[in-house]
Point group: D2
Chain length 326, copies 4
């Protein structure tokens, strides 16, 4: 199944880019956890478009809690959160129904769903679905933090512009707090400037560029995760590959399991330049120029998404078999 | 996990009796299926309260599709449907926080969730959660019908008032159509009158009575379901036990697996008479008189719910391994 | 899938009646638990055939541990146990390939697997598969007992011969110990004598008879299991319906969830009398007289099987989300 | 859970390095598939140790089929295959109980299982568990080949010795056949010679070296896999991370999804050189020299393992929802 993750913390994501809303249902959260809604809003704002360097689509992304919350605290019932889709421009996408974008899910989705798939904005394959992932993951990050576990990511590279790496051993909690308010989210400001210049140049050409996000988890007790397909790296990998555009996941050779890096994000396939494709009506080669509003570098907004995915994977593993780590 | 069902058709139900909404997310529906919304509404109306003999709570229960539907047809994305909770009276339930109702989930939920559970209207344990079950199952019933598979249930007994049974062998499709518009839903009108009298008497005493629902599935190809824990009876049993108040599931000794009957529904535990309980604050014996609006016989409204649960179980099994039966 | 059960305690059963072995793999057992192999052997002996009133097939059923055990204790790795199939007489079953037994899985299995299914002894649908279920469940019963949880079953009825019922409220632990050594396993010896007479009469006619097993669980903490499809009754129901011949599961109206009863076992479909069937080669009506060794009443040996299934379901639920109950 | 993979093709691996056997149970294989046992043996031989450049432990690795096979063909029942553990030398490992090897699972397993884990040969964390993975995957590779789908891997690099890459677009089926008989398995023989020299040098120092395996899948129909966590890359990633020593998974930027590469295997942590560790008895720093027989480069034998994991992931996805691709 597509948007279901986890065995103990169960996450179900739903919605399409231009449906009434996107959302998530989470089972397995502890009852009585008081959600810090301001912190959650700030976390979601880091992912939201409308920032400099990203797509001009404005999304307020205010989470609406349908169930699972009583008086601001979790109540043990499945928690469902909606984020309404506003400011959508579905008319931009009609051409894609017959001219699939190269490097995007348009063509396999057309085959898989017999042409009945929602093409507007990428449908269920849109990066818009990372908004509810972050809403769910943002709550889990708060739960982990209370247990002394921090999950923090930054942009390691965009094209050939490269930030400093996390130190796999030393405590960097103070650095974490600063990182979360930087845009772009980098350790070394000079690297951030290089990235900005590169992205501006790429945007001017109607093109896009890929990037690498590095994520560090600290405070994790030993013994989380198991053997074989049940390892923590596999669990994190599966969560990361659930993020659109992720094409690689590596775990660092650090000391023990203290550090993991990183997720490789491919360039956005929706670009303004003319691209070669196949016309599904005529069966002939054709060209396509994608209208609409798109990120020149999706990695920029992917930092909180990677944190959310890592948090969900870690917490799901911690719940397994009720280890003392909980 | 609590409200998740199925391996191929994945169903996730969420909401509480008095939360903003109840809802369901379904993955695995075929893409391009045109939903008959009028038929779906009629099906949901059979479950809705506000009928004679049931609780006076009025629920319009109009399903709102958040995702998964484009131009009236499924689009292959997870389908999420909401049913907003209106006309709720949460003040009725405050006493139950310290005086759990006998025979209800109040006390185990208090222990499981450390007192953080939503008590209003039974919270996530409310029979209100069968509304989204019917919304999802109502669509699946339409899909099955297109494949020549009919699922039909009726009230076999209420207390000692007993309807005629389905014939396990002969075709009863014409009977099915008539049954769906009867209230109470019985084969023999005289049995229905007996049931009405019994329920009125029970209601007058502030009490409630249990009942048995019989369900028949026709047109099912051979070879659906597997051995051991993968059998069709186990799958249907698990779906049926997900309906609040079901205390037993039996499969008929008919010819082959053509007929199954029935699900035994216990009397509603929320009754108007004084009941004995334990006061969680004082730790002493206490008495409880439940206010609010309750069904004197939950089995009456359970007929479409049983059909919905059976349809979901059958279709999940049909999708398994892509048998030709699909 | 067919022989997989559980989300936290994961059980996988494999084998056919006449394959080299039947077996089970269990994940999720606590590490360091010292298995009482004598007690496990005694438990398996209660299920084994070769007793008075059951099939004369002799099975030593000695469990061979392939993995998961070090120096007599669980080691945290998946535990795999084999029970070799000996004393099989495959030649008895050749006729069934073209003349499926009524009331058995022969015909649906033929359709589902395109005729490639193993017909000997019922293949994977054989009650022989309850041997590894009991091997796994027997270990779980020992784990539960250490936590003060007892699971005990007896034969409530065979045909119209009926034993006394468990008391849903009072402590009956002393009765439990005695029950486990009785054959047939009944509370009231007079009822046992009635059952014996009935079964002998049925056997003499080449026929078989069904029965009901009642199971009681004591010492269970409140708060085990959840809402909807995650309830304890649904979990136990799914485990029980995984036992061949179970056609119904009911939960008693006792005080709270202290008592559950019972599982309805149908008469063995492999009987010595001539039965009517359809010949799959000719497509015409035909008759069948099943040779081989069969139980005149499968319920007799089903008592430990029901205990094993209940124990597995309960423990799987206890592991969920790491409740304090563990 | 640790050694369970797949939703439609369900794989359960069990065993420890020095238990009686390692094995696998597979549910979901098509019934009636005639296994080519010679081809399966040849495939397993590519993984087996005892070759030049790998550990001198001799394993015959002959698969013994316990269930699921009748007359050489699958019969629809769960298929269980055992590979007996012979030629084990458990005495080599006693020191590791108190001196965990750096970079290995010794310490987290000690914590997770309270010291009850089987330490001999790495227990359930041993690369020995890839033998049953290959037995199961080897059968799936044969099923895929019949459908025109080929899965082929080679060693892309060992340390800084680098082979030629697969061509992401052109047909290389002829190359595949040749590759499978080469040792080391490389496209460019000169790269193979470099790798051999490097590994010999590393072995002489009692050290080990990592490597990268590149895997190509051809003939895959469009539309396999879904959105979000249900994508084919995530499924393959999860299978790959189930292989011990895999620290990274990347998917190639080829045209469409035609090519994927590769899995990064870390150097074997069991090396002959003295390593620094912590003594779990004294709590002080200590040194460790691992005896026993170990691979200087685990990537060499990982080629068929990567093919097996990819095949299992692809086939599980193909079975999902019964797409026409089956």
């Amino acid at each position: 199944m597509s948007y279901t993750y986890g065995n103990n913390l169960k996450l179900q994501i739903f919605g399409q880019s231009h449906s009434e809303a996107v959302g998530a249902t989470v089972e397995g959260l502890p009852a009585g956890f008081e959600i810090d809604f301001d912190a959650l809003g700030a976390f979601l704002a880091r992912r939201a478009p409308g920032q400099a360097l990203s797509t001009p689509r404005r999304e307020k992304d205010a989470p609406v809690f349908v169930s699972g919350v009583t008086d601001g605290a979790t109540n043990g019932a499945p928690l469902t959160v909606l984020i309404y889709n506003e400011n959508t421009r579905s008319k931009d996408y009609s051409e894609l129904k017959i001219k699939p974008r190269p490097g995007h899910a348009d063509y396999p989705a057309h085959v898989k769903f017999g042409g009945h798939n929602d093409i507007a904005g990428g449908g269920q394959f849109s990066a818009r679905l990372t908004a509810p992932l972050c809403a769910a993951g943002g709550i889990v990050l708060q739960i982990l933090k209370k247990k002394g576990i921090e999950v923090c990511a930054h942009i390691l590279s965009v094209g050939d512009a490269r930030d400093a790496s996390f130190d796999p051993v030393s405590d960097q909690t103070e650095l974490f707090d600063g990182l979360r308010s930087r845009s772009p989210c980098v350790i070394d400001p000079a690297a951030g400037d290089q990235m900005k210049s590169l992205i501006e140049a790429v945007r001017a050409e109607g093109d896009s560029v890929g990037g690498v996000v590095e994520c560090k988890i600290t405070g994790l007790p030993a013994g989380i995760g198991g053997a074989g397909f049940g390892g923590l790296d596999g669990a994190i990998g599966a969560a990361m590959f659930g993020i659109p555009a992720v094409k690689g996941v590596e775990f660092g050779a650090g000391f023990g399991a203290a550090a993991l890096r990183g997720s490789a994000f491919k360039p956005t396939p929706s670009i303004g330049r003319e691209q070669r494709t196949v016309n599904l009506e005529t069966g002939r080669n054709d060209t396509l120029t994608v209208q609409g509003r798109h990120d020149p570098c999706v990695a920029l907004r992917a930092v909180p998404v990677a944190e959310a995915a890592a948090a969900i994977a870690v917490y799901d593993m911690m719940l397994e078999n009720g280890t003392e780590a909980i």
